[in-house]
């Protein structure tokens, strides 16, 4: 594991992780108004960004390394969030507005019982299994047919876009049984712990950090293995790969499914901390935004997309507060500038800077 990253990179990662881990401690140990106090709001933002970073990391595995551009990863993110959301809705119990056994939106639709696909969702473990299995199986089936038909490049991207759009329309319908356009919200507790308590938030924050770090190490291990070199071979010269005896189908399918599952985990971590999931998360624009995170940070680097997710979302938070109307223009401009002037993203610029310094 020590050899996965260069020593200085390991240092930087561990220091950043330690700083992040300190945030919930500062939040809990120092009272409101104290100089060292970190507000729950700030912590929530960082937690949200970490979820986005995990999604961007997952995307980098397929886009940066394997050359498969997905414009529909939002669907996996949202499915993970919905799968966890089902448990959270069940955990509300009788504390909803209508104080019924059923979630408020079902009462509103005048449903008397849960539909069949909600069965067993009161079990946390079952819902966690759904977080892995539903996007995993969807990605596997979708990927199998797409890759077997040798659909590549922009055609594949368009199909992923269509897929997330189709799911968005499906989830917008009230009859689908996932709360229509309001989605799931108003969560109360997770495994008996109140979601509003600072301690629960701190633990969720740390779990998210742990998953982000774990996923980073896992992805790094994969891309530095021989399999990682085969994946890059898929990106650079797929026909050569076939003629030396690798079947690209299974390699693509492996990385595509893994990426979908990682993205889904990001969604599952997102939902209790942000407190809402609705179908707009599946809108094509959201998936494209994920691609921009990866592109801005530097694709094909794993660390880049994480940095990109924090940077772009940090900008977004500031922009949408300061100039709410201009954000989409700024995002578009950012994407154009990155495409034209820094194709390797922020990490690429950093690398170039280092090289010129060494040369001087």
């Amino acid at each position: 594991m020590r050899h996965l990253f260069p020593r200085t990179t390991w240092f930087a990662i561990l220091i950043l992780a330690a700083v992040a881990a300190l945030l919930p401690v500062l939040n809990l140990c120092f009272p409101d108004g104290h100089l060292l106090h970190i507000s729950g709001y700030a912590m929530g933002i960082v937690a949200k960004f970490m979820c986005y970073a995990l999604a961007a990391l997952a995307l980098d595995l397929v886009w940066g390394y394997t050359g498969i551009l997905s414009l529909g990863h939002g669907v996996f993110f949202a499915l993970g969030a919905y799968a966890h959301g089902m448990y959270l809705m069940r955990a509300i119990g009788h504390d909803g507005v209508y104080q019924s056994n059923l979630p408020d939106f079902m009462v509103f639709l005048d449903w008397k019982t849960y539909p069949w696909y909600w069965s067993m969702t009161d079990s946390f473990l079952y819902c966690m299994a759904l977080v892995i299995l539903v996007p995993g199986i969807l990605a596997f089936i979708f990927g199998f047919f797409a890759f077997r038909s040798r659909i590549k490049g922009v055609y594949f991207s368009i199909i992923t876009q269509a897929m997330t759009y189709a799911f968005m329309l499906l989830f917008f319908r009230n009859d689908t049984g996932f709360g229509g356009n309001n989605g799931f919200t108003d969560f109360k507790r997770l495994l008996g712990f109140s979601l509003t308590s600072p301690a629960t938030k701190a633990v969720l924050f740390l779990i998210t950090l742990f998953f982000l770090l774990g996923a980073l190490v896992l992805c790094r291990w994969i891309v530095t293995s021989k399999l990682g070199r085969v994946l890059q071979g898929v990106r650079d010269s797929e026909s050569r790969l076939m003629f030396i005896g690798y079947n690209p189908l299974w390699f693509k399918l492996f990385v595509w499914t893994l990426s979908a599952v990682l993205c889904s985990i990001a969604g599952a971590l997102y939902v209790p901390q942000v407190g809402i999931i609705n179908p707009s998360e599946m809108s094509p624009a959201n998936s494209i935004e994920m691609v921009i995170w990866a592109a801005v940070g530097g694709r094909g680097t794993l660390l880049g997309p994480i940095i990109g997710a924090f940077t772009v979302n940090g900008l977004k938070s500031w922009f949408t507060a300061a100039f709410p109307d201009l954000w989409l223009y700024a995002l578009g401009l950012l994407f154009i500038l990155v495409t034209l002037f820094m194709q390797q993203g922020m990490l690429g610029v950093l690398g170039k800077f280092k090289k010129t310094k060494e040369a001087a």
Partner: protein, 284 residues
């Protein structure tokens, strides 16, 4: 039939590189599936490939003996590359049969299966993994189980490293192992691609214009390399460069393709004086 069985490497037999490293050699592993009892490794019979009515290959018959180095020449559009596509499974023929050894029906196999069966192919334009180092290119190509799980956990052992070193020496890139393949010269990329074929330990090697775009010195070196490989693998070379073909064909058979079928077959001297060949290709 005029093939020489004794020159062909047998299972477990080794050969060492010409450029030093006498102690190390890479082993040939028997291709379990290839049955070459009748002396031929490839049979193409009455192959037709048509693209929207245009017959790129028109009732082509060809067979290659074990250990033979066969040169295929022919003008542009004669169907040389299409024939290689048929052999490697990239294109399915409209009719006809293609057999590898006595039993393997190539028309029913895909590219990956054919590669594992023991047919290696070099493309017209050099295709190597430019982002990977020369060493990693050979590592990826090396003959072994190539499914997802084994690939994920694969680590090179010292024997495999030695194999790579032998091939590096053979293709004259022994001091370039760590260099990204994208930085190699055109000729070096061609050699690397040949090296990637060799380390797959194929029974039959297909080379599509191996000296296209090479300097004279590189062409001479490639001829030298092919002469070293002669008899150890069955090799099919498609080439335009007549000097190069004369150099490597020696007394072996040369096949002239024209409009998708065989126009003439014989030694280089024989086909060079053939009236029809002169008309369509050599002469003006």
């Amino acid at each position: 039939m005029s093939y020489v069985m004794s020159g062909v490497l047998r299972p477990g037999q080794q050969y060492s590189s010409a450029t030093g490293d006498q102690g190390v050699s890479y082993q040939r592993i028997k291709q379990a599936g290839v049955d070459t009892t009748h002396g031929a490794i490839l049979y193409l019979e009455d192959i037709v490939v048509s693209f929207d009515g245009f017959k790129a290959i028109n009732h082509l018959n060809l067979d290659i003996s074990v250990g033979e180095l066969r040169c295929i020449i022919g003008p542009n559009g004669a169907g040389k590359t299409t024939m290689m596509d048929v052999i490697t499974g990239k294109t399915k023929p409209s009719s006809g049969s293609a057999f590898f050894g006595q039993t393997m029906d190539l028309t029913k196999m895909n590219e990956v299966e054919i590669a594992h069966a023991g047919i290696g192919r070099k493309f017209q334009r050099p295709t190597v993994f430019e982002q990977h180092s020369v060493f990693e290119n050979l590592e990826l190509a090396m003959k072994m189980d190539k499914c997802v799980v084994t690939t994920l956990f694969a680590r090179l052992n010292s024997e495999q490293r030695d194999k790579i070193a032998v091939v590096l020496a053979l293709i004259r890139l022994h001091d370039q192992g760590r260099r990204p393949a994208g930085l190699l010269s055109h000729g070096q990329k061609q050699w690397l691609e040949i090296g990637m074929l060799l380390i797959q330990e194929p029974q039959l090697i297909l080379l599509d214009e191996p000296v296209a775009g090479m300097s004279d010195a590189e062409t001479a070196r490639t001829a030298e390399l092919l002469n070293e490989l002669r008899g150890k693998h069955s090799i099919m070379v498609v080439e335009h460069d007549m000097g190069f073909v004369t150099e490597i064909a020696q007394q072996g058979k040369v096949t002239v393709l024209h409009e998708g079928s065989v126009l003439a077959e014989g030694t280089m001297q024989q086909v060079q004086v053939d009236e029809r060949v002169i008309e369509v290709y050599l002469g003006r």
